[in-house]
């Protein structure tokens, strides 16, 4: 309490964004340096929070509370628990690596990374990061939605301005509208909760900790669970509302794809858990079957669609749908194992998919094509990226000793407790994933370098390597030592289970 670390983390990006906007536009490297410095700062602080989180005490920690709009019971109420602390760390990691990747290579033959208006790019990206941090640490429903929306709109600009010129306008608009519809519907639900809790308890407050005991009636929960959960879960890429995600990912510039798939999708999932499941547990139990069905379809269908993609980035995009489906699947189990797995999967998938998009971006920047059949032999020119991608691929396949396994295994255990058929059906995705990951690794990174690429494809930069190493490190450490994260997530899950009535 003496040191308001969470607000410092949350407001670092926006302060940095304002500083950057105030800098002259042509000082590109200075702008980048400011971005990198503030991202590192945020990363260090979020790591500090992560490692100083007291697991035995559990619950919400590093709590800060300032009245913001007392008349309506809005407060800046920050705190992290075992589920959000890893996500804060993840955001720090992805922000840091995203800046590194976007620094790029301004060699006129390469022009990787962001070379057009980097000042605006980083500023918008950091506004996005501001929103993301805010959602993860907010314990106030109003502020949660406030930050949630902040995380949505910069996306539009980031995609439309720096995205892939072929589809960016379409994709950006589609993405924004999808997410907006989801979030405004969730907003209506949140307001309904706010009003009903006022009627029940007489206290006008958006404080989620108080709302947990607001005594929502069962019928109220059943009515409002779906709008709230699905509204947020749109951003989590839940089937059948996932359609924006692959298009959006493909059109976005590399760092934005990383951020988006790596962190933003977790934002949706996290908010769906925090607001949907934790505040409306009875509704969650009532609709469990539906969420589970959606998630199961996402898992298998996403994997299959990824399998048939010829565009490298689309493949990664659909694989995200599949993997986020696993997160939702874990949520839908509403039991200890499933939720634990989901918590881990959020982190694991975040790091993994950020890495995927980073590598895809590096290749596209240099080869100017993402068509898998046209690529080949990349390990000869960028061996480091190849190794990184392979590690990411192994995580994605759920290979043991990598974080993906540590996350997926409990999810499946949780699903077994609920329904065996779902577990069996979803497990098919593991084989499909292995097939497309391995096929693409082989096609893109091995074999002969096509003639048209020979000579002018350069290796990735040093900063790129730092970014890839950072991401890989987390995936391996968690895979080898689940202790690094599992017990912490466990404390958060126990809290959720208490709200669910100790099931």
């Amino acid at each position: 309490m003496d040191f308001p670390v969470l607000s410092i983390i949350t407001f670092t990006p926006i302060v940095a964004a304002l500083i950057m906007l105030a800098m002259p536009a042509n000082r590109k490297n200075e702008v980048r340096a400011v971005a990198l410095a503030s991202a590192s700062f945020a990363l260090i602080l979020s790591a500090w929070v992560y490692f100083n989180y007291n697991q035995t005490a559990a619950g919400y920690q590093f709590i800060e509370k300032y009245d913001w709009l007392p008349a309506l019971g809005v407060s800046l109420h920050f705190g992290v628990d075992g589920i959000s602390a890893p996500l804060v760390l993840l955001t720090g990691v992805v922000m840091f690596t995203g800046v590194l990747i976007s620094w790029g290579d301004d060699n006129p033959h390469v022009m990787a990374g962001i070379q057009d208006r980097p000042r605006e790019f980083f500023a918008f990206l950091f506004i996005l990061a501001w929103g993301v941090f805010g959602v993860f640490v907010s314990l106030d429903l109003f502020m949660l939605i406030f930050f949630y929306e902040i995380a949505v709109f910069p996306m539009y600009l980031l995609i439309v301005i720096w995205g892939w010129s072929v589809t960016r306008e379409y994709a950006a608009m589609k993405l924004t509208l999808y997410l907006l519809i989801g979030s405004v519907i969730a907003l209506v639900g949140a307001l309904a909760m706010y009003i009903v809790q006022y009627q029940n308890t007489g206290a006008l407050t958006f404080d989620m900790l108080k709302m947990e005991s607001a005594g929502f009636s069962q019928s109220f929960q059943i009515i409002w669970f779906l709008p709230v959960f699905l509204g947020f879960a749109v951003l989590g890429g839940i089937w059948p509302l996932h359609n924006w995600s692959p298009d959006g990912h493909v059109a976005a510039p590399t760092a934005v794809s990383m951020f988006h798939a790596g962190v933003l999708m977790k934002l949706g999932a996290f908010a769906a858990l925090r607001v949907g499941i934790m505040l409306l547990p009875e509704g969650a139990k009532y609709w469990q079957w539906l969420i589970m069905a959606f998630a199961a379809i996402a898992v298998v269908y996403g994997a299959y669609i990824a399998f048939v993609q010829m565009d490298f980035k689309y493949m990664v995009g659909f694989s995200s749908v599949s993997h986020m489906g696993l997160v939702m699947l874990g949520f839908a189990t509403l039991n200890r194992d499933g939720l634990l797995g989901s918590g881990l999967q959020m982190f694991s998938h975040g790091a993994m998919t950020a890495l995927f998009f980073a590598v895809v971006g590096m290749i596209y920047d240099r080869a100017h094509t993402r068509q898998i059949p046209e690529l080949g032999g990349m390990s000869k020119v960028m061996p480091f990226a190849a190794v990184g991608f392979i590690i990411g691929g192994l995580v994605s396949m759920g290979m043991p000793l990598f974080s993906g396994f540590v996350a997926e295994f409990p999810i499946f255990m949780g699903v077994w407790r609920e329904h065996w058929l779902v577990a069996v059906v979803c497990s098919i995705s593991i084989v499909i994933t292995a097939a497309y990951i391995m096929r693409n690794i082989r096609q893109v990174f091995f074999g002969d370098l096509p003639e048209k690429f020979q000579g002018h494809i350069t290796d990735i930069t040093f900063l790129d390597k730092v970014a890839l190493t950072t991401l890989c490190l987390f995936m391996i450490v968690i895979g080898l030592f689940p202790k690094f994260m599992a017990p912490m997530v466990q404390t958060g899950v126990d809290y959720v289970l208490r709200l669910l009535g100790g099931s």
């Binding site: 709009l69 008349a71 605006e120 109003f142 902040i150 405004v184 519907i185 209506v188 307001l191 309904a192």
Partner: protein, 484 residues
């Protein structure tokens, strides 16, 4: 008879009057090329008036003043401050307008209209109300048609005049019926009459419908919105901005006081609020849908302002204190935001003479600052944090849900997504598209000092309302409290 309260209750208007006189006296002495300095004077005077009023004329407990003609309370005071701020900004924005900037009478008309609006916000008597509405409207008819040589401006002036007269007449008819039924014109006495059932609900419904026509015209909600796009497009842009903000808010001020104070009869409210709810829904749907195909930025903003009328109306429909507070808060946020939007449009067309959306291509490269301001304004209109529009929308929606109008709120949120489409689409031109020739660097957009000052002030205001919302909301809430 005379008391300090009485003086305080009309201190802002007195100050405005004094300011007008000063302008009248000073203006002829200024040379033609320096005459635009009247704008500085007006703006400065208005801001000074705001501070003086805040210092000396803050209302305490609500009281009647001037023999029951006006009500001296926070509700009116807050609106007055808003109007005057909007007036100051409009004055700044007028300064570099080719046809308005150097004309002292334009500023004078603005002040006259402001006096009318201020009185609208505090009127507690139908006679006073009608007079203030006319005081506010007539200068605006003139301002809308101010550019005599310009066909569109003339058309706008006439259209506004004709629609206005028609609507006011209908409203006046409603007022006369009220007097006929009740024998009083004082709103607070009227409320008492309703409470004892002196007026049958059916008659009250009819009266309200007639009055609604007049106010609906002012606030531009469906189906009384037809004038808005044409007038906004044709009128000088600063005037259009003023019309779409302060003038609209004045309509709402009357609407709130009239409906919440004078007609609180519960037997009346059910069909009445339903009517209002339907109007709100129609405004949101029609405004947003018609905004979609617009290519002219002023027409786009016109339709979007119709849509925003609908959102504001949700708070009125709620018929609660939270609802009233949300309306006031929404209007505050909306005034700043829309003035900013019009201001950007003005600054742009001042420099380029263009006002179609596609002309905005490359704006962020030509002037990053202007681009960011437009971004702030449009995102605030969309209802995105950290800008004022977000909090305003949330509060309005909360009020709607509290009153049980969930369906209306759902229409509201869905249409706001439609809104997001065209706002973001406009931003796409600003940020993504390039000018023909891609030579933005040699086509910068200069911002004169009044523009820069006004726009920066508005941008900061929009962000302040969106981030540190407690003080503004508390004022709005205090104002709302006076109505109950």
């Amino acid at each position: 008879m005379f008391s300090s309260t009485m003086f305080a209750s009309i201190l802002p208007e007195i100050l405005l009057l004094l300011l007008g006189m000063v302008i009248l006296i000073v203006e002829p002495f200024w040379k033609e090329e320096k005459r635009r300095n009247v704008g500085w004077l007006t703006a400065g005077g208005l801001i000074a008036s705001i501070f003086i009023s805040l210092a000396f004329a803050q209302p305490g407990e609500p009281t009647s003043a001037l023999g029951g003609m006006i009500r001296f309370d926070w509700f009116g005071f807050f609106f007055k401050m808003l109007f005057m701020f909007a007036g100051a900004m409009t004055a700044l924005l007028m300064m570099d307008h080719q046809r308005l900037g150097a004309r002292g009478e334009a500023y004078l008309l603005l002040l006259a209209s402001l006096i009318g609006m201020n009185l609208m916000a505090v009127s507690s008597d139908l006679i006073m109300l009608f007079l203030s509405i006319e005081t506010a409207s007539i200068p605006l008819y003139v301002l809308a048609g101010f550019m005599l040589g310009d066909d569109r401006s003339t058309e706008a002036g006439f259209k506004y005049l004709l629609f206005g007269i028609l609507a006011t007449t209908v409203m006046l008819y409603g007022f006369s019926l009220v007097f006929g039924f009740s024998g009083t014109t004082n709103l607070y006495q009227l409320a008492e009459m309703f409470r004892v059932g002196a007026i049958t609900p059916l008659a009250a419904f009819g009266i309200l419908a007639l009055i609604l026509v007049g106010l609906g015209f002012k606030a531009a909600f469906v189906p009384f919105h037809f004038w808005a796009p044409d007038v906004y497009e044709g009128a000088p842009t600063p005037v259009a901005g003023f019309l779409s903000t302060a003038s609209k808010a004045a309509g709402y001020a009357v609407l709130l006081r009239l409906f919440l104070v004078a007609f609180p009869n519960p037997s009346l409210s059910a069909p009445w609020t339903l009517t209002l709810a339907i109007i709100a829904a129609l405004s949101m749907v029609v405004g947003n849908l018609l905004a979609l195909p617009q290519t002219n930025i002023k027409r786009l903003l016109a339709y979007s302002s119709i849509a925003h009328t609908g959102y504001t109306l949700i708070g009125v429909v709620a018929f609660t204190q939270l609802g009233a507070a949300s309306v006031i808060f929404y209007l505050a946020a909306y005034i700043l935001t829309n003035l900013l939007a019009f201001g950007v449009a003005m600054a742009f067309s001042q420099a380029t003479g263009l006002e179609n959306l596609e002309d905005y291509a490359g704006l962020s490269r030509r002037s990053p600052l202007l681009g960011l301001m437009m971004l702030s304004a449009f995102l605030s209109l969309t209802g995105m944090p950290p800008f004022g529009g977000f909090v305003a929308k949330v509060v309005v929606f909360a009020a709607g849900i509290q009153a049980g109008y969930t369906w209306l709120v759902i229409i509201g949120v869905l249409t706001s997504v439609v809104g997001a489409y065209y706002y973001l689409n406009a931003l796409k031109f600003v940020y993504l598209r390039r000018m023909p020739g891609e030579d933005e660097a040699s086509h910068p957009i200069p911002l004169s000092r009044p523009y820069a000052l006004a726009l920066v002030a508005l941008t900061i205001g929009v962000i302040l309302i969106g981030t540190i919302f407690a003080p503004w909301f508390n004022w709005a809430d205090a104002g709302a409290l006076n109505l109950f």
